[in-house]
C-alpha cells in the first residue's frame, strides 16, 4: 500500500492554464510507487527550499560509458522507492518526429522498467527516461535496442546531435538538416557511447540562420544553413504585402542590418543589393510569400559554443563560411577536418576544456595552423586591434 503524501504546495502547481508537471507526476504515481515517493520528496523540497539529490555515481550499461545519469537520494530511508533514481538518455529520432506506434513502444518499455516519467525532451534533445534503479538499466537498454532505439550521450563524449525540422516542414531549409544530423549521429556511434574526449562535444544542425535549434549558442559544432546567390524575389507578392498594409519600408528595409535594401513606395518594388546582404533572414521572415533564400544553398560551419563554466559562455564562431554539406565529397572533407580537430583537442586540450575554450587558450591562429586551415577574414568579426603581434621570423623573411 503506497504511502499517501500530503502535497499542498505541489497542488498549487496544478492550478492555472499551463499544463502541470505535477499533474503528470500524479498520473504516473497512480501506476508507480517511485513516482509517489517523488511527489513526497518534491513536496519536502518545496517546504525546505532545497533539493534532496546526491551527486551521481557512475552507473551505465555494459560497454557504454555514457547515456545514463546516476542519481541517489540523500534521505533513502524516507523515500526508499527512489533511493536509486537514474536517468536514461535515449537518442531521439532526428527532428523529434514520431509515429504513434513508436511512442507507444517507448512507453511500453519504460512502463516495464522505470518510473513512467519522461522528459520529452531533454535540453540536448534526448528522450529522457526519468528515474529507474541500477538493475533495470541493462534490461531497458536491451529492449530499446531491440525496438530500434539506442542511448544518447553523456560525459566527455559526442553528445546526441540534434536538428531543426528543416526540409521536412520548413521552406527555408538550406540543406537537409535531418540527413546531416542522422549521418553524423551514425558516424559517431562509438564516440557517442564511449567517452574518450577531454570534455563533451555537441553537434547541432539548423537549416537557416534563424537557428531554430540554437546551434550557435549550444553546440561545439554549429551547422547553420545559408545561401550564396541572390534572394529570390517574387515582385507580385511584394506588392501584395504592400497592398495588404504591410509597412515594408519601416519594418523590413529599416531592419536590414546590411542596409542593402531599397523600397520604392510608388511602384512598390523592392531592390536588394545581394553582395552586401548578410543572410540574416529578416526580410525573408517578414515576407515569406515574397522572398526566399537563393538556389546556391549550403551551410556555414561554426565552432566552439558552450555554457559559462569555466571560462565564460561562448557562441560558436565561423570556421567554414560555406559548405555544400549535402554533397558527399564536401561532407567527407568536413569529416576529415573534424577528426583532425578532435585529434588536436584530445592531444592538447585540458581536462574539462571544451573545444571553444581550447581554441581561445591556444589562439585561433595556432589552432588553424595545427588543423591545416588557412585563416580568412570571414572567421573574425574584426582583425586584431592591439599591436601585440607574435611575428614569426620565417614569415618576415618572405616579406
Amino acid at each position: 500500500m503506497p504511502k499517501e503524501y500530503k502535497t499542498p504546495k505541489l497542488d498549487e502547481l496544478e492550478k492555472g492554464p499551463w499544463p502541470s508537471f505535477v499533474t503528470e507526476i500524479k498520473l504516473a504515481a497512480k501506476e508507480k510507487e517511485m513516482c509517489n515517493d517523488l511527489l513526497g520528496v518534491l513536496e519536502r523540497s518545496y517546504n525546505e527550499r532545497i533539493g534532496h539529490w546526491k551527486h551521481g555515481g557512475i552507473v551505465g550499461v555494459m560497454g557504454y560509458g555514457g547515456g545514463v545519469i546516476g542519481r541517489y537520494i540523500d534521505v533513502p530511508e524516507e523515500f526508499p522507492n527512489i533511493s536509486h533514481f537514474h536517468t536514461i538518455r535515449v537518442n531521439m529520432p532526428t527532428g523529434w518526429f514520431y509515429t504513434s506506434e513508436a511512442l507507444r513502444t517507448l512507453c511500453d518499455i519504460w512502463d516495464r522498467h522505470g518510473s513512467g516519467l519522461t522528459n520529452m525532451h531533454g535540453s540536448t534533445g534526448d528522450i529522457i527516461f526519468l528515474g529507474t534503479t541500477t538493475d533495470e538499466l541493462e534490461p531497458t537498454f536491451s529492449e530499446l535496442t531491440q525496438a530500434g532505439f539506442d542511448l544518447g550521450g553523456s560525459g566527455s563524449d559526442v553528445r546526441t546531435p540534434s536538428a531543426c525540422c528543416g526540409p521536412a516542414r520548413c521552406e527555408w531549409a538550406c540543406y537537409d538538416t535531418l540527413k546531416a544530423c542522422y549521418d553524423v549521429t551514425m558516424k559517431y556511434q562509438d564516440e557517442l557511447h564511449r567517452p574518450a574526449f577531454p570534455y563533451k562535444w555537441k553537434f547541432k544542425f539548423s537549416g537557416c540562420p534563424n537557428d531554430c535549434v540554437a546551434a550557435i549558442a549550444r553546440a561545439d559544432i554549429s551547422v547553420i544553413g545559408t545561401w550564396r546567390d541572390a534572394i529570390k524575389v517574387d515582385a507580385a507578392e511584394v506588392k501584395n504585402y504592400a497592398d495588404a498594409g504591410m509597412d515594408i519600408f519601416n519594418d523590413v528595409v529599416l531592419n536590414c542590418p546590411a542596409k542593402c535594401m531599397k523600397f520604392d513606395h510608388e511602384s512598390k518594388t523592392l531592390e536588394i543589393d545581394n553582395a552586401d546582404c548578410r543572410r540574416c533572414m529578416h526580410c525573408i521572415n517578414a515576407m515569406p510569400k515574397a522572398l526566399r533564400p537563393g538556389d546556391d544553398k549550403g551551410a556555414t560551419i561554426l565552432i566552439g559554443a558552450k555554457a559559462p563554466i569555466v571560462e565564460g559562455a561562448l557562441l560558436s564562431s565561423v570556421l567554414i563560411p560555406f559548405l555544400n554539406i549535402d554533397d558527399e565529397e564536401e561532407r567527407e572533407d568536413w569529416f576529415d577536418l573534424i577528426e583532425e580537430m578532435q585529434d588536436v583537442w584530445c592531444e592538447e586540450g585540458k581536462n574539462r576544456e571544451r573545444v571553444g575554450e581550447f581554441i581561445q587558450r591556444v589562439g585561433m591562429g595556432n589552432f588553424l595552423e595545427a588543423v591545416g586551415v588557412e585563416p580568412i577574414p570571414e572567421m573574425v568579426a574584426y582583425p586584431r586591434d592591439n599591436p601585440y603581434i607574435f611575428f614569426e621570423t620565417d614569415e618576415e623573411e618572405e616579406e
Binding site: K9, L10, L13, P17, W18, P19, S20, F21, E24, I25, L27, C35, L42, Y46, R49, I50, G51, W53, H55, T87, P93, W96, F97, T99, S100, R104, L106, C107, T118, N119, M120, S123, G125, L130, E143, T145, Q146, G148, D150, S162, P167, R169, C170, L178, Y182, D190, D211, A214, A217, D251, P257, C280, M281, H282, A286, A307, P308, I309, A313, L315
Partner: protein, 366 residues
C-alpha cells in the same frame, strides 16, 4: 518481448527519421514554398505541389507521464495519420493535411490540458532543466518556476495579447546552464550566494585535490591541511559561488535554503535575424526562492515583458529594443535597481564599460 537468446545490439543509433515522417512531408520534403500563421498556435505550410500541411502546436510541461504520451499517440492517430513531433523547445506539434482536423485537434488537446499557442510573435514554452526533480546541483526548482511563469504569461502564449516579436524564455537551475539560458530574451538562472561548505573529513577520500583546485575559475581554492587531513580552503572573497568545485567534488556543497535563489537576465537572442546573436545581461541579481508560486519572479518577468511590449517597435526582440533605447531606459522603465552586481568584473569586464558619449538623458520631459 525481450528474448534471452537475442544478440546484444549496440551502437545502432536512433531509428531512421524517415520512417516517422508523415506521407505529405515525405512527398513534399524540401519542396515547401511558404507558410502562414492561420490563428494563434496554428500554421500552414504550402508546398510547391500545392499540398498543405497544418500544424497545431500545443503547450507541454516537458515532464510527461507515459499516460500522457499515450494520449498524444491516440490523438495523433485520430487526426494526423499516426504522426506527431516535438519541437526544439519541447512543445508538441500535430500536423495534418486536413484543415478540418485543426479545430478538433485543438479541442481534444485542450481537453487533456494542452492549449495551442506559441507560434509567431508570441511567448512559447520555457526551455528548462531538472531542478529539484532530479538534479543534485539545483539552486532552485525548474519545472515549478516554469509553470508559474507560463501561467502568468499565458495570454502571450495563446495569442490573446500581442507582442512586437518573439520572446524566448529559458531557465537553468544552476550555473552549468543546461538550459543554455545565456542567449535568451529572458533568462531565469538559479544562483548560490554563499561559498561551498567543505566536508573536510571526507574530501580527500572522494576527490582529487589538484583537480579540485584547478576547477575554480577565480582560483579561490587552495590545498590546506585541516584537522590533520589533506583538504582545501576557499578564499572567501575570491569565491563567486559558481559551484564548479561542487560539480567536480561532492564534498563542496553550496545548496542552502536561504542563500539560494534566482537571478533574472534579459536581452539575449540566438537567431541571426536582423542583429547578431547576443548574450543575456543581468537584470536582477537575486530573488530568494519562494515556492510554490515564486510571485516575485513572475512579477519581475511580467514587468519586463510589458515594458518591452509597450515600447518596442515591430520585430524588435527585447535585446534589440534595449540596444536602441539604452540600458538606463530599461532600468528606469522596469524600476529594477541598478547595483554593483550589474557591473561586470570578470575577464572581459573592461569591454562592458560605456566607452562613448552616446548617452540619453533621463527622465525626459519636453
Amino acid at each position: 518481448m525481450a528474448d534471452a537468446m537475442q544478440e546484444r545490439l549496440t551502437d545502432i543509433g536512433p531509428p531512421n527519421y524517415e520512417q516517422f515522417l508523415h506521407p505529405v512531408i515525405k512527398k513534399n520534403y524540401g519542396q515547401w514554398k511558404y507558410h502562414e500563421i492561420v490563428e494563434p498556435g496554428v500554421m500552414v505550410h504550402v508546398a510547391e505541389s500545392g499540398d498543405e500541411l497544418y500544424t497545431v502546436r500545443v503547450a507541454s510541461p516537458r515532464l510527461m507521464s507515459t499516460t500522457k504520451i499515450r494520449q498524444f499517440a491516440d490523438i495523433a492517430e485520430k487526426y494526423c495519420d499516426g504522426h506527431m513531433r516535438f519541437t526544439s523547445r519541447h512543445n508538441a506539434e500535430f500536423m495534418t493535411p486536413n484543415k478540418g482536423n485543426v479545430a478538433k485537434l485543438k479541442e481534444e488537446l485542450l481537453a487533456i490540458g494542452h492549449p495551442a499557442g506559441g507560434i509567431g510573435p508570441a511567448i512559447t514554452s520555457i526551455v528548462h532543466t531538472q531542478g529539484w526533480v532530479h538534479c543534485h546541483s539545483a539552486a532552485t526548482d525548474a519545472s515549478g518556476v516554469v509553470k508559474c511563469v507560463m501561467d502568468d504569461l499565458f495570454e502571450y502564449f495563446n495569442g490573446e495579447k500581442k507582442l512586437p516579436g518573439k520572446c524566448r524564455i529559458a531557465l537553468a537551475c544552476c550555473l552549468n546552464m543546461c538550459g543554455a539560458v545565456h542567449c535568451s530574451d529572458i533568462a531565469i538562472l538559479g544562483v548560490h550566494t554563499k561559498p561551498p561548505r567543505i566536508d573536510h573529513a571526507n574530501l580527500n577520500k572522494i576527490c582529487e585535490i589538484p583537480n579540485l583546485s584547478a576547477s575554480c575559475p577565480t582560483a579561490a581554492i587552495r590545498p590546506a591541511t585541516v584537522n590533520g587531513v589533506p583538504s582545501v580552503e576557499v578564499i572567501q572573497e575570491n569565491c563567486m559561488f559558481c559551484a564548479n568545485c561542487y560539480t567536480v567534488c561532492p564534498a563542496m556543497p553550496l545548496n542552502d535554503p536561504d542563500s539560494d535563489g534566482i537571478s533574472i537576465w534579459v536581452g539575449g537572442k540566438v537567431s541571426n535575424a536582423r542583429s547578431e546573436p547576443k548574450f543575456s545581461k543581468l537584470a536582477i541579481p537575486f530573488i530568494p526562492n519562494n515556492p510554490p508560486r515564486w510571485p516575485e519572479v513572475t512579477e519581475a518577468i511580467r514587468t519586463i515583458v510589458e515594458v518591452w511590449a509597450d515600447n518596442a517597435r515591430p520585430y524588435e526582440r527585447i535585446g534589440e529594443w534595449i540596444d536602441r533605447v539604452g540600458w538606463p531606459r530599461f532600468f528606469r522603465l522596469t524600476g529594477f535597481e541598478f547595483k554593483k552586481e550589474h557591473v561586470d568584473d570578470f575577464k572581459h569586464a573592461g569591454l562592458s564599460f560605456k566607452r562613448s558619449a552616446h548617452i540619453t538623458h533621463e527622465p525626459w520631459e519636453e
